[in-house]
């Protein structure tokens, strides 16, 4: 093509109406070039004839397009502009199908990790860990209240909230993909198919699914707001630049920040998209004024945190109460730069003491080593591991890292996503850029920002120290990136189908039907993720919490270690009202003054007129043991209401302990009730250790004191040798002269750490046979156990059976010993050991 022709082509194409030019620019150019290449239009006279022909066409087209009448029509058609008529009904139907899937695989109760905390927070209008997630708490609480007439359990209602959010996200994804696919195909049928397949692949991506059938995290709400914002930007583009859509986006972004900042990460994609489509809109003052007001309004849910904290809810992490509304507002609207100290800490997430992203987290905070390429490569590989879970988790499911042939299917869906991205890019560069920025931000961007330690299952041989690894798998942080990729993969699959159909056009009668089997690829994640993503019939965490709480004697104090031996117990106490008399203490939280104060106040004897049952969501005073609610085997336990708080310290004394960690210079004799031990020199006494020692000293003999296993604080204070296993807990012995009929000293072995040094034989046997509950999928060895990081909970049953086997062995009851060994081995197999 000569330069002359290029210029001519450009001039003519530019003359055509904008809407034709926008959609057919490259086609118009190509046709004009093809015409210019004809022999009849060569030479000077040919060029003149071509220009004349094109000029006539241009004028006719301009006139015709202005009236928008199809040639030959006498009446303008009712235009069904492609991509402009949103199929709300179809999107609703798609969301209903997604909801049905999530309901079919819904968790029937509490799950491990943060589920217990969030269920408790939502049910009691409490405040979970930083950042406090006020939007989630309020929405989930309202949702639970709305569903109350259905008569289903609170846990199911709250898990349904997550399912509803996941389904609602896919309502908007359907609309978004319908619009995108309108760029490839004018057929509404193909557009619907594209949207449906994209939604199917997104909704059944492993992590999206697994996080949408339980309220374990708040990310289904983030997914919802990201999908909503994505639909709003598409609406903005098709609305001829109306500012109201952008202002609404600003509002949603501010609102979602009150759920979790993950949802705000759609912002870079929105900004890039607006710059590409119409950058000048950012110069409009009305936009900034409107957005400022929208953001101010959208941030208001954060006020829930100080207002509710001031009411002393039973779950009140970090005690975010502020002296006045002004300070709270300063914290909220400066994002923690000034104002109320505790609330500002929450905004800055000071609790986590994260290192800068340039520092290696595996050795932090002991060392500030630069984050090297090896760790970064491992973090990228960790993302790849999670990506590899998304499309066929059940293939080689027990192998969390690669999974046999799973990478082949992962490659297939990666390629489908690339195909979808490619055709999207070719038809709509701004839209494709939006999706790409969204994906990169929520995949690579998060890998860089989160700066994880080595993945839970990665490099175990090279780095055996558990401290160098994440405590659990972190795929949930990336679920939106998996969802976005699923959308592109759906588009890619439709493209693949159409290409096959084209290839078959001259060979079969109905090529599209003949090529349709390729669409079955969309069902692969549904089929191969089901077993691992489903939480149906999983009562393990609830039963575990029940069994632990029942192992504690009336008015007992239970020291716990982390998420899985704490949050399910909170759920059972605060949502199901089981064993509220037990004081569950997260040992690590005792390093903070707010928790120590709450513990002190929660265990204070009730004064005249105080009735904690009348305000079950608030921290009032010691809650009563309810013998009538206990299983028959435990109803006869002696229960005497305590007369003192477990922590007889003033606020000032608590602050002093928190501010004064120390190292033991000379061995300290520690005495409590009938117990005497020594804390060796060189022991680093953190505030939590001092508080535990204080609680033991003040309460031993007054209240039963238990530890969940393992019990590092009991070892640190030299208390472990004074414990006796009772069911799933270790109870601190107040008196060495325990009933010898119940007390069996266990022989020392490599297993002593997990079995304990002694066993309450009859008590444990009673608990195991008459009290403990086990139901659901955990009992079926053929069902996969998806989360390897929780198998240590299953092993607790192994250790209990092992302790019983040893005790019966000591007593010479070999058949019982063998029976417990077999049962212990069964739990070991269940844990995959």
């Amino acid at each position: 093509m000569s330069a002359w022709s290029d210029r001519i082509v450009g001039v003519f194409v530019h003359g055509y109406p904008a809407h034709l030019r926008g959609e057919y620019s490259s086609e118009l150019r190509r046709v004009i070039r093809d015409l210019a290449g004809r022999a009849e239009y060569r030479g000077l006279s040919g060029r003149v004839r071509l220009c004349s022909f094109l000029l006539r066409d241009l004028l006719v087209t301009l006139a015709r397009e202005r009236t928008a009448v199809l040639p030959g029509r006498t009446v303008p058609p009712c235009r069904r502009a492609r991509g402009h008529a949103d199929p709300y009904g179809d999107a609703f139907l798609a969301a209903l199908v997604v909801l049905a899937l999530y309901v079919a695989t819904l968790a029937p109760s509490v799950a491990f990790w943060d589920s217990g905390e969030y269920l408790t927070a939502a049910h009691t209008l409490g405040i979970p860990h930083q950042p406090g997630n006020p939007l989630f708490v309020m929405l989930a609480h309202a949702w639970e209240w709305l569903l109350a007439p259905l008569g289903i359990s609170a846990a199911v209602r709250l898990n349904l909230f997550s399912a509803m959010m996941g389904a609602a996200a896919h309502f908007f994804w359907f609309l978004v993909v319908y619009r995108i696919s309108g760029l490839f195909s004018s057929s509404p049928r193909v557009q619907r198919l594209s949207a449906a397949l994209a939604v199917l692949l997104s909704a059944t991506a492993f992590t999206v699914w697994n996080q949408s059938n339980v309220s374990e995290k708040v990310y289904s709400v983030s997914l919802f707001t990201v999908a909503l914002v994505s639909w709003l930007v598409w609406r903005w583009r098709s609305s001829d630049g109306s500012l109201r859509w952008l202002i609404l986006i600003a509002f949603v972004l501010a609102l979602t920040s009150a759920n979790h900042l993950l949802g705000v990460l759609v912002a870079p994609a929105v900004i890039v998209y607006v710059l590409l489509v119409n950058a000048t809109v950012f110069l409009r003052g009305r936009l900034w004024a409107g957005a400022l007001l929208a953001v101010a309004l959208g941030l208001t849910p954060h006020f829930f945190l100080p207002l509710r904290a001031a009411q002393r809810p039973i779950l009140n992490e970090n005690d975010l109460a502020c002296a006045n509304v002004r300070d709270a507002a300063l914290s909220i609207y400066t994002w923690g730069r000034t104002g109320c100290a505790s609330l500002s800490d929450a905004f800055r997430r000071d609790q986590y003491q994260d290192p800068p992203i340039t520092v290696d987290r595996t050795t932090w905070p002991q060392l500030a080593v630069p984050r090297g390429p090896r760790l970064f490569a491992s973090q990228l590989a960790n993302y790849a591991q999670y990506y590899n879970w998304q499309w066929a988790r059940g293939l080689g499911g027990s192998d969390a890292l690669t999974g046999g042939l799973r990478p082949l299917l992962t490659l297939l869906f990666a390629l489908l996503g690339l195909l979808g991205a490619r055709v999207h890019w070719r038809r709509d560069r701004a839209g494709a850029t939006y999706m790409a920025v969204l994906f990169v931000t929520l995949a690579l961007g998060l890998v860089v920002y989160l700066n994880f330690k080595y993945g839970y299952a990665m490099h175990r041989a090279a780095f055996p120290d558990p401290e160098m690894h994440e405590v659990r798998e972190r795929d949930y942080f990336f679920l939106i990136s998996f969802s976005v990729w699923g959308l592109w993969a759906g588009l890619g699959l439709v493209q693949l189908w159409q290409r096959f159909a084209r290839a078959l056009t001259n060979r079969v009668r109905n090529a599209q039907l003949a090529a349709a089997p390729v669409l079955a690829i969309a069902l692969i994640p549904l089929g191969l993720n089901w077993e691992y993503a489903s939480r149906a019939d999983d009562y393990t965490a609830r039963d575990w919490a029940y069994n632990v709480l029942m192992s504690v004697e009336p008015y007992g104090v239970l020291f716990t270690n982390g998420d899985n031996d704490t949050f399910p117990l909170w759920y059972l106490q605060e949502v199901e009202n089981v064993r509220r008399d037990v004081t569950v203490l997260v040992t690590s939280y005792l390093n903070t003054p707010w928790y120590a104060r709450q513990v002190r106040d929660l265990t204070r004897p009730c004064e005249s007129g105080q009735q904690p049952d009348r305000a079950p969501t608030r921290l009032v005073c010691q809650r009563a043991f309810q013998a009538e609610a206990m299983p028959p085997a435990l109803r006869q336990q002696a229960a005497r209401a305590p007369e003192d708080s477990i922590l007889p310290l003033s606020d000032a004394q608590i602050d002093e302990v928190v501010a004064s960690p120390f190292v033991v210079a000379a061995p300290i004799k520690f005495k409590a009730a009938g117990l005497e031990t020594t804390i060796p020199a060189g022991t680093e006494m953190l505030p939590a250790d001092t508080f535990v020692a204080t609680i033991v000293k003040s309460s031993l003999g007054e209240r039963p004191i238990h530890f969940t296993t393992p019990a590092p604080v009991a070892h640190k204070l030299g208390l472990f040798d004074h414990t006796i296993r009772r069911g799933l807990t270790f109870k601190l012995r107040a008196d060495r002269n325990d009933d010898p009929a119940r007390f069996v000293k266990l022989p020392r072995s490599d297993w002593t750490e997990v079995t304990g040094v002694a066993l309450d034989l009859s008590g444990s046997e009673t608990l195991l046979t008459q009290v403990f509950r086990q139901q659901g999928r955990v009992l079926d060895l053929s069902k996969a156990w998806a989360d390897q990081a929780t198998t240590n909970i299953l092993l607790q049953y192994t250790w209990l059976h092992l302790a019983l086997a040893k005790a019966y062995g000591e007593r010479g009851v070999q058949d019982k010993a063998q029976q417990h060994l077999r049962e212990g081995e069964w739990w070991q197999r269940r844990a995959g050991e």
């Binding site: 034709l20 057919y24 492609r82 084209r502 056009t505």
Partner: protein, 117 residues
């Protein structure tokens, strides 16, 4: 499938629209291919310009008369167009309408009956 009323509302079709439908009746074509087919079949009597062609195609796409297929011709990427069942029915209806006009014209001796060879 298009309803009879929809088809009636669209009649009569313009020459350009009907020619495009005819060009696609026996196979999928890209834009320039449509232009070429029309020119060859009409021996150059009907020659659509690019604006006329794509203006009409766009409306046909909007109305579901034709649908777009992804073409991949080496580096030269073209959009191919496929006549949908609705489009085919519209074209058939228009052909029928024109055939009835021809019969009427013959009855009025404005047109000689076609001779079989």
């Amino acid at each position: 499938m298009a309803r009879a009323r929809d088809i009636e509302e669209r009649a009569p079709l313009s020459t350009a629209a009907f020619q495009i439908l005819l060009a696609l009746a026996d196979g999928d074509r890209h834009g320039y291919g449509v232009m070429q087919e029309i020119e060859q079949r009409t021996e150059g009597r009907v020659r659509l310009g690019p604006g006329t062609l794509y203006g009409a195609l766009k409306r046909m796409l909007d109305d579901g008369w034709v649908e777009e297929l992804e073409g991949d011709d080496g580096d030269e990427r073209r959009r191919y167009y496929h006549l949908t069942a609705t489009g085919r029915q519209i074209a058939r209806q228009e052909a029928q309408r024109l055939a009835e006009l021809v019969v009427a014209a013959q009855a009025k001796r404005l047109l000689s009956p076609a001779r079989s060879s």
